[in-house]
Symmetry: D2
Subunit: 338 residues, 4 copies
């Protein structure tokens, strides 16, 4: 039973905590918070030992009667690995502390590949991170891209991938972030950084991406155009994706014609927090024209990387040598659809 700590019990951190908790080979021994808000209160209610990441702020927690187990310094000794879910840019700073303390660390996609050294995707390069000390799980967008690009590349080879990423402006609870009514090229330069980010885990893929932000909170949406090396039919791709774990084919014609309706479906599925860990590919959008495969997919930015974090723990702590077995185990315990 491996001991896992979560540094930053926020959007990603609280989900990874729950995902780890439902596995049988690892457990949460502590989560950290900087601010005594409702999420801190919930962590305690759920039974997670709560540690303060900024020791000088202990008083703030006392004032509102949130019981803490200790400060982060007391947590380091108790864990085999820290999953760092702090805001973008903080993780790279924390890495030095973890190094000093002699613990392994997983970082999220907001950190730069170069600053962490290695990047991870369960399907693309699980074994390349075997036993590693510091690994970054690629971002929600990159994870979403890899989930479909990897099996398609395996099946028929991708000569040239083009993708336009229409990203949600903010997460549902980030009420200070906009835009309220605008489309924002982000970045306004082409290509965007998402292509190179895919290449940190699918090393040889030829891919170019463009990205923008739009006023929605629910999901990212991706538009893919893949020139294939070997001929394939739409049915081949449908069969492939139906057999691919963590990918879901959805039909616009069955009332799932938008990101909002897909999230409604996730609510009906009864997942924790109404999350959708799978990438949803619109079945009607799949088409092949002159050897080029087109499709559209939707990515639940808050949760798609969560099962990858679990797999990443297994690879880094050398718990399961077969990627497929880790994926299957993670999925089964999280009730991810097969």
């Amino acid at each position: 039973m491996k001991a896992v700590g979560i540094n930053g019990y926020g959007t990603i951190g609280k989900r990874v905590a729950d995902a780890v908790s439902c596995q049988d080979d690892m457990q949460i021994v502590g989560v950290t918070k900087r601010t005594p808000d409702f999420e801190a209160r919930m962590a305690v209610d759920k039974g997670y030992p709560l540690y303060i990441s900024a020791p000088d702020r202990e008083e703030l927690f006392e004032e509102v009667d949130i019981t803490v187990t200790g400060t982060i310094d007391e947590l380091y000794d108790k864990i085999d690995i820290m999953v760092d879910c702090t805001p973008e840019g903080i993780g790279a700073k924390n890495k030095k502390i973890y190094q000093e303390k002699g613990i392994k660390g997983i970082f999220q996609g907001g950190e730069k590949h170069d600053q962490i050294g290695k990047s991870f995707n369960s399907f693309a390069n699980y074994l390349d991170n075997w036993g590693a000390d510091f690994v970054r799980v690629v971002s929600c967008n990159t994870t979403g891209l890899c989930r479909t690009l990897k099996p398609i590349n395996d099946l028929c080879g991708i000569k040239n991938a083009r993708a336009v990423l229409v990203r949600r402006g903010a997460d549902p609870s980030q009420v200070k972030k906009g835009p309220i009514n605008a489309i924002i090229p982000n970045p306004p330069t082409v290509p965007s950084h998402h292509g190179p980010d895919v290449q940190t885990v699918m090393y040889d893929l030829n891919i170019t991406t463009m990205a923008l932000l739009v006023p929605t909170t629910l999901m990212h949406q991706h538009n893919l155009m893949l020139e294939l090396e070997k001929p394939a039919s739409v049915d081949d791709v449908i069969d492939l994706l139906e057999a691919t774990p963590r990918v879901l084919l959805v039909k616009a014609g069955e009332g799932l014609g938008s990101t909002a309706e897909i999230m409604e479906c996730a609510r009906d599925l009864g997942r924790p927090r109404s999350d959708l860990f799978e990438i949803a590919v619109w079945k009607e959008s799949l088409n092949i024209k002159d050897g080029e495969l087109f499709y559209m997919q939707a990515i639940h930015q808050e949760s798609d990387v969560v099962p990858e974090n679990v797999d990443c723990i297994r690879s880094m702590l050398e718990m399961e040598e077969d990627p497929d077995k880790s994926i299957e185990k993670t999925n089964k315990n999280m009730e991810i659809l097969e």
Copy 2:
């Protein structure tokens, strides 16, 4: 064990189905759908017998391999009561059919009080609907108003209530409805119909309401100004609301300063569909000035009426004479916070 049917397995219907299913004195024996969409498929997956409400559309279900148990005509014989959750205006038409078939019917707030005859709120007039044949559970907004107005009126008497209702433009999955970027007085006349609607269950309350629509999908927000008959302190009201079932005091200062963050908290609570059955009152907003009580509250329009539907079944089928006991039973089975 009473037999309940759901006519219209949509936003409200699917929630009432689940709420009935977790009670120990009633069960779902059938739900109806008109269209073979993902919700129909989910109903079958969940084990609810599915009946087609428009018999001539059976073929559409067959085409997409959704197994139906029969048509709605076959359902009538099997039930003690039908909870009608069809779109606004359809319920009143269905009432005639239920009358012919000799079954009782519950309708939702989209129907007009005059067309159904009686209206219901668990706290305001549970016993007034004892044994009734046709009853309407008041709308999400009216239910939300009653949840706080009733206990406050009991405690210190409301001389004059004013409320401004800032309503969500559409439910999360209603992607065709706007507005995208506008505030819409709705109605543009004052007072709005919400005040008279409250009076269908709190008969003597002096209340005037104004209402508008804004571009959000998550919750309604209410602004209340209550001239009180008897003096009270803010602490009295806080104590009252903390002791009131299906009302939750939330603190903006703990990261719950918006409807989005309140819904995020509901997700963390692990409710089905991330629903919030309780009315959330902002603790900081409670103030009394010159004998007038002010506060702000948020209403989850998709779910706050769901427990009221369960209580309404008990009252109409004469299952539990004590309103408090029904409320407590419903809450316990639905894991509603006390």
Copy 3:
């Protein structure tokens, strides 16, 4: 002086009316309305003779004291051409009436090419519509695509064009249309109809498009990926687009990094209704990689087709044989930037 009628004084109609009015070789002799709303009132205030398109509704106009000049039947005799700006699908029906009356008609992009017979873009095929009786000005999106594709194709040849169109969900004043919080593949099939629509005016272009709707009202945004036949540099393309009428290069780095800021700039320019008749191309987005040109552009859906309607009148009424001269004249009179 050619006599022009506008059938449907709405979003497009009122703009074409104003654009025609500032030309020196044509004038508005009447505009039609079906509903006596503020736009009808404004038409009268501006001095446009107002005709009722549904004669049986005359009373409605009288009730609110809007003075009408007559019914649409009285307008037909007075005009050389009717610019039909009625809602999608109505135009095709009106075509038969215009045929009977023996007047020429221009239709908008909501009508189908096959039902009108000919399509128009000032730059792509002005002369192909010379003297024609019925012509359709292609839609805002298609016009936007042609504005940049045509000069680039002329300069260096487009082997293969791919475009992803991120469309505004509704116009600013369409408050009933959503989505409020969703991304909608529209259509959910690939390719979308926009590619073939470009081919109604740029007959031989090899183009594939994907399209979606997002919750914004201001502008469409296009993401273009063009495989070129002849080598070119980014500077070549910048020089080309700077010299292209009705195309504007904007810099994200100068505070124009979103559709909202571009529309703010249009407001500062002092155009009528704060319109932006030009297509805005983000300068930073222009890039060439392995012979493929990438860029992003923004389209003001309410107004980009307006100058094309003016040019189309000149072509159909055989008023100016040189497309460039018509374009220049239209631009000068509308104060479009060169």
Copy 4:
């Protein structure tokens, strides 16, 4: 001819510059900018002498070829008064500089009344600011409230005013600000600061306000409930408001049922930047019940204070002793509807 400077050529500053420019008794001799963005470029294009407010940033302007006339220090000598339109909180700091330089200063509503000393509204207290050195024009919301409260108070006395302010989340071009999908009590305490702010210009008014933010960019919307001292009829109030300058009665029934449609109407009116300087009151919303007047109004937050700034200049520079004459002159020159 009085010489006016604008410190901060942004949302408010650029509008005041244009409003001053169309008067015949004052002129703009300089505007300042801190950042060389498109607004700076436009200021130069419009012929306003441009001064850099942060002298050390001159190089940034040179780099992008924006010609400046000088630094702000050179502007002070040339002006009779500075209209400070810098971001919230900066104005109070600038006041000290203006004092040292011996020039008068107007500040905007983002500054605190206590830090400036005097507040201004054209209708409420024009003469109280006669010859003053430092005056704050109250905010867009407060100006909007005064525009209707002042004449109604004069007509029939307001015993008790209650108002709920539904505010736009961000201005159209503020793309970084949210919320995208939430309602935010702002402040979450009651009463909000808007009531006391009204009292800085309508000293004795008994008013309580509640305020919130919603995901829209166009206008604020106010819901008013006024207990009257003297009896009045709805027609009396309609007649009053129709005769009140800078107030516009609009009819939801004529297609003006939302803030978006009102702004569409403003576009059709042909105002610069499609601004609406007037407060729009929904005619249908006006109602009197038990001596209480109810109505709803919409406020164009970017522009309603602009004519007040012009009047404020006249009062502070002792240019026109009769408030009505200043208002009339400002209106006529700005083409504000009477």
